[in-house]
Symmetry: C2
Subunit: 371 residues, 2 copies
């Protein structure tokens, strides 16, 4: 693990030196980026890459004894802030100035205005520049070890969902079912849920990000669930919709088949070189043709990894193309106010046709089950 | 509930108008502040108080149907961003400009540099000013309804911990015990844990914020646990240390009694009008006298509420005084590298002597139990 993190930091250094010169230091504050570059998941830890190859992880004073990098690598120094209650980022800025840096590239999409001002005050000689989303771009294509972690997260998620489907659902509340799913994720080895589990029944079904309520599952309902495990920091997502009772009604079958066809179109488009907006377009087009184009949200999917919502977004205005080994979700849904609706979410990895095409990580069936 | 939120917003309006004039609009982005002022816990929602008494909650496009305020109050308009994938804060800034505002007070301690710039671009005629921590100050003293929620959170926490103490602990891992505690919190009605549950055994015991590992509980260990329930958004904290096996050894008894005495000194100092640094001083003084002053972190406690770490901090450089109805933790700890240590955390509400003095919410015993 240590070598992986060292290599990632070297790549970042090279990119930054190319833009900012040899005397440019880099400050990483975004939690997922610190973890990606060091392996450390200590809350509040920040990473400084100073000129001369010194890398320092600054961890909060009261967590310092626990702050050794996960890998125990020697190239990464761990230290506490200069003052016990000082922000580690302020300590890092002062360190950068002392190490001879003339500028410090910071994550303006992560630092608050107040914190940015505190850095400028702590190291007045240092020019603060913007790192933009350099590390996020570096995180976009995953290595096979990262994909393996996502694969395990998906297996755990499939197990948890599979067990729930074998139990009695009628009469139980959304909240109760969501809690049970989260427990099962942990039973099967997840660090925790990748995001708040959504369980939506009746009129709620098909709503994106629905927070579970005390509504009970009833005969004839659509039931949509959306969950994912976090494993070694990596997060996946699955969404499925079921019908409760003996047999689905005609409108339910029609809506389900439409969303299924839309989601399949999106999944099949996941090849290296495909524009992200093209995946969105082919998905959206199926729903448009069925008259439900307006029911779709702003995106039909997004990247996953150390965060549940990463680049690339699969949305109309996105200009980038898909790359090999980029994990994404495809998650179209239609919600009809007062009636409910259908969502189908999968996590897949973009792979070339020669390697068998897109790799589906979340393998729970997408047949319309009547439970 | 609706009246409470309306009243809170009116108070905020008055304060802001006093500083920024009648044409000053206010943008609230910090999650806990949006919840405090509207009751809404929709992720990504932002609140705009525009001139003329119009309050608007802007919720992400794909969550808009679920975005009705919890209370259903009519004075709060709910709307989606202008463009489906636009940041609600940008929409709110444009709304403020159209409503005739000449300035917009923003939470610089919450907005990132990048988001702040996007607001300035979206509404170029609007002067962006700093709201500082106005809402946090308003949240400091709790009303009896908020304290009731904290009291329930504490009851749930005590139940979960009490059940764990009745089970066999030797041979189980820190990670397993932490998961079991979190499940029990949920079983007893918590929305979730207030913060990541810490279970620390052997050499880890007494470490603040220790993340559970696969180390197993052994005979003779100190075992320290720190957990809390979240109930209606309100978060409490308890920490206890136990000895595993038949009887504690002498050094364990001595260290425990010292931390206990320090914590009691802090608890007893929680009266309206007491300087925050005085609570810290009396706690620290006991540990100093025992020779363990250096083992203490930068603060001996902090406020709790919709966030687990709120003002006031109980630390040496803090200048404010305690008020009636401010809930705080008192949580000194000593960790001896290689040997372990002791932490004792309680959540209490500051009350005047005439009302019986500080109200202890977390009532699990602080006797040194051998389990």
């Amino acid at each position: 693990m240590s070598d992986v993190h060292l290599l990632r930091r070297s790549r970042l250094r090279e990119r930054c030196a190319a833009h900012g010169g040899a005397a440019c230091a880099v400050l990483i504050t975004r939690v997922a980026n610190v973890r990606y570059l060091t392996g450390s998941a200590v809350p509040g830890a920040v990473l400084l890459l100073a000129p001369g190859g010194r890398d320092t992880l600054v961890v909060p004073a009261d967590l310092a004894p626990a702050g050794q990098p996960a890998s125990g690598e020697r190239s990464l120094q761990v230290r506490a802030p200069a003052a016990a209650d000082e922000d580690g980022a302020v300590t890092a800025a002062a360190l950068a100035a002392r190490a001879g840096a003339d500028s410090l590239a910071v994550e303006e999409h992560d630092l608050t205005v107040a914190r940015h001002r505190a850095l400028a005050t702590a190291a007045p000689g240092l020019g603060l520049t913007a790192l933009t989303s350099t590390v996020e771009q570096q995180r976009l294509v995953k290595d096979e070890e990262e994909i393996a972690a996502l694969r395990i997260a998906a297996e755990i998620t499939d197990h948890a969902l599979g067990e729930l489907l074998e139990s009695i659902l009628v009469g139980r509340t959304e909240r109760h079912l969501a809690l049970e799913l989260e427990r099962r994720l942990i039973d099967h080895g997840a660090e925790g849920p990748a995001f708040p589990t959504s369980v939506a029944t009746g009129g709620h079904a098909g709503l994106a990000g629905h927070l579970p309520t005390d509504r009970r599952v009833e005969e004839g309902d659509f039931l949509s669930v959306c969950l994912g495990a976090r494993y070694r920091g990596y997060r996946c997502r699955i969404g499925r919709t079921f019908v409760i009772g003996t047999a689905p009604s005609d409108w339910q079958i029609e809506l389900y088949e439409l969303v299924f066809a839309a989601q399949r179109a999106g999944r099949e488009a996941l090849l290296p070189g495909t524009p992200c907006r093209e995946v969105d377009r082919v998905t959206r087009q199926v729903l448009d043709a069925g008259g439900y184009g307006d029911a779709l949200g702003p995106a039909t999917g997004h990247g996953v990894g150390l965060e549940i919502g990463e680049d690339p977004r699969l949305a109309p205005a996105v200009m980038s193309k898909l790359d090999d080994r980029v994990p994404v979700t495809v998650e179209p849904g239609v919600h009809l106010p007062g009636r409910g609706g259908v969502r189908l979410d999968d996590t897949l990895v973009v792979r070339p046709q020669a390697d068998g095409g897109p790799e589906l990580l979340t393998i729970t069936t997408k047949e319309l089950l009547a439970l």
